[in-house]
Subunit: 545 residues, 2 copies
Amino acid sequence: MKGLMQDWPLLVHRVLDHAARWHGEREIVSRSIEGPVHRQSYRDLDRRSRALASASKKHLKAKKGSVIATMAWNGYRHMEIWYGLMGLGAVVHTLNPRLFTEQLIYIINHAEDQWIFTDLTFLPIFEKLQDKLPTVKGFVVMTDRAHMPVGTKLSNVICYEELLGQGDEGFAWPRLDENTACGLCYTSGTTGNPKGVVYSHRSNVLHAMTITGADAFALHSRDTTLPVVPMFHANAWSLTFSCPMAGAKLVLPGAKLDGASVFELLDTERVTMTAAVPTIWLMLLQHLEQNPTLKLPYLERVLIGGASCPEPMMRAFIETYGVDVIHAWGMTEMSPMGTLSRLKGSMLDLPPAEKWKEKLKQGRPGFGIDMKITDDKNEELPHDGKVFGRLKVRGPAISSAYFKGEGVAAFDADGWFDTGDVSTIDEWGFMQITDRSKDVIKSGGEWISSIDLENAALGCAGVAEAAAIGLPHPKWDERPLLVVVRKAGTEVSKDEVLAHMTGKVAKWWMPDDVAFVDDIPHTATGKISKLQLRERFRNYHLPTA
Amino acid sequence: MKGLMQDWPLLVHRVLDHAARWHGEREIVSRSIEGPVHRQSYRDLDRRSRALASASKKHLKAKKGSVIATMAWNGYRHMEIWYGLMGLGAVVHTLNPRLFTEQLIYIINHAEDQWIFTDLTFLPIFEKLQDKLPTVKGFVVMTDRAHMPVGTKLSNVICYEELLGQGDEGFAWPRLDENTACGLCYTSGTTGNPKGVVYSHRSNVLHAMTITGADAFALHSRDTTLPVVPMFHANAWSLTFSCPMAGAKLVLPGAKLDGASVFELLDTERVTMTAAVPTIWLMLLQHLEQNPTLKLPYLERVLIGGASCPEPMMRAFIETYGVDVIHAWGMTEMSPMGTLSRLKGSMLDLPPAEKWKEKLKQGRPGFGIDMKITDDKNEELPHDGKVFGRLKVRGPAISSAYFKGEGVAAFDADGWFDTGDVSTIDEWGFMQITDRSKDVIKSGGEWISSIDLENAALGCAGVAEAAAIGLPHPKWDERPLLVVVRKAGTEVSKDEVLAHMTGKVAKWWMPDDVAFVDDIPHTATGKISKLQLRERFRNYHLPTA
């Protein structure tokens, strides 16, 4: 027996329909690449997205299944492309301008991008790359005629506003199956080539519904939201879907992400909710410290994800500026939100120190995200906050495969996706990342968290940076080596470092040796490259081995 | 090109999975039919729902597609049946004990109910009806052995706790298609037989996701929620789905819905959010007025729907008790929520009187509900707050048909459901019901709201009750007749009533005549029966005709 409810597929254009019809007057404020602050409404976004879709269909031959790339900051034109092309059934491939040239070439060719929409900022990149991109038919420059580049070496260049001007603002969206692909975003692992995550209309809509929820981002129509997190970084954490869904005013920061520029938008636009990685907030907090008269009177909550939120940062927002912090964790493969550190009703009577401890964890999943930790035999581990295991997730907005069938090892037969993270889950259901599974040190069948070792070492005077890796050991399989960069002008010794760590980690976790180096290698995104470090210490012999 | 996201059907049991796994410790507090307050956790609910499903499969032969009825108050056992049977793929048919006997017989036979789960309260009803219910195999009495009725005339009676005790708490839910039917609720129109609304797993889950949203009920895990609105009244407005989804503590009131009993639960359980029809709140406010020391310190918001919220009621909650009011409108066919009067960000600068005017309207739809008003030619009418037309709705949790193909006239070719209501929509997108479409008076091709006429007459001294109906007119097609019941001991005249109304409604809306009667007929739910009234005045001759 079937239910007798309406057939209403979950399509991304319905989010825009809703915003235009019930929140049509609400603003999208963009710091434009050309300079001035630009203002339009959701009604305008709808009108212009339809025109762009119509013109792209006619002039770019864009259709269902066409993969079309953008390299752009957060701005109104990026949103028009987003909704216009997705509405058409095309797949929007967001390119991260911070990737290395070789990665960009690989990704564009792997995706077989047909066109690239680009901000003025990125023309020099494509002038250099264009000869290596055989599938790309041309470039749409996201500006008006007056700002089009003169004497560019790019071939087949189209002016965005001229293209859009040829479109039909009353264009009717085609009816699509809700499982149709609409977005493509590559995730650059530390090993191997980047892998493509393919979002569907259904996954984006369901994820945005979860995200607007009162225990997630709690987005409503009285919010003014500043997504500092870029649209090329996993859907701007869904905010470019969930804000129109909620009727929230959107403030899009363009290319200027420094502390002063972000503060200016927070203040002049009276932003109530904002989201970014810790690096951005470090810049903002430094700007505020340097200008002690500045306050954050409108901001109610800040979402911090992408990397663990340090306690001093959380305390600064909450205690100094009266802004609540929502600590979050997710992955490109998760659309991207996984967990949020929102306290539960049953935790309200915990002592303050306990509450802080929980808020600093990555938190718990909302409806539509299931999560478990397992041992190496795929047996589920208990939620005791101590045992850690591989973190696996399941849900309707989580990858079941990568583009073109790569990276199959991440998906198990029961449909769970292995995040590659290692974590604990406590009795409240709060998850805490303890390591990456490839970085964890396997000693005598048990796991040692490399991150915990590093944190224990970091407090030692004279230690500027520390990294722990596992090295082969005849008896224990692996044992930890701690690699340390000394602070300039200090001469901290192995014994001093180990003495400092004693009592902070289990006795059998203690490193078998400490090696001092001048520098520790980092990835493009600033994380310690354990891969390169392991390579560098490949022939190192532990004194205990 | 398909998205590469996981196949994760939207099934009702996933709501319970989520609650048990991430909010397992959270309480469900029930005022039991046997007397004492009963407490269990979401973990218990999960365990017992699985046991009930397993036992029902084995002993009641319940399976996918089985229609099984409940006649029960809001309580933990009702929720176990709800999740247990839906999880099995069966269809839970909630019976409204307030229906007339003939309607109950019709509904049970039309649905072909196989079993009836009943609270102790309702045994006398079924003792009388059982011989007229050929499809019903027996009755499961929702109590334990100690409280089972002695000497009941009901045949084939099973004790709920004994049945459940034979089930397997580790029962695994079958994998179902998300469009599988899971609920059946009859809506009793004022004309014809009741019609069955068939909910699917998908519609209930999507609706609950909308409902938990920050601009809808804003349910989160720190909430304690008291659904006074019964589970047999259109899914308790989704609260029995959306509270477990959010991890909110649930307080279920059982059979006692008077002011003192509702207050007691609000106070002792520290309820933060509650929902019911205006009648319930009238009883609560009267109880509070009679006991001036009583306050509502924990309650943050009250949801009022089912009938229009009177301004004095809204002012009492907001101004006297500091409790926000969310005025809502919906229908059984809409799962049931349609609109909520949550002010938007763009309305925050309106003068207070304007805000009050908007809050008293039925409000605006959330994502997943589309809405329009049309004229008799199905042309959409503008959102100006003045023009009124037929209110039509569309969305994934809105009926596409009634059970067994009845009532086809309510569904148009484009997929819109005609609510039978007549309303305006203003420039903010706020909808206000002005009439039922069958009660509106069609005069010279234009519509006159019978409700507006009644409200204009009600303020006149000497008028106890008033009802407006359209009577045939040779020139204007229809013209209004106002039917009035005088207050006891007064002798208000036609001219006095009309003089009072002058200026309150458009000149051409003024009734052509006023008829004085001793009583006005009402329906089972207390509304004026325009149908009976039109019947009574069938041969009445308007002086203008």
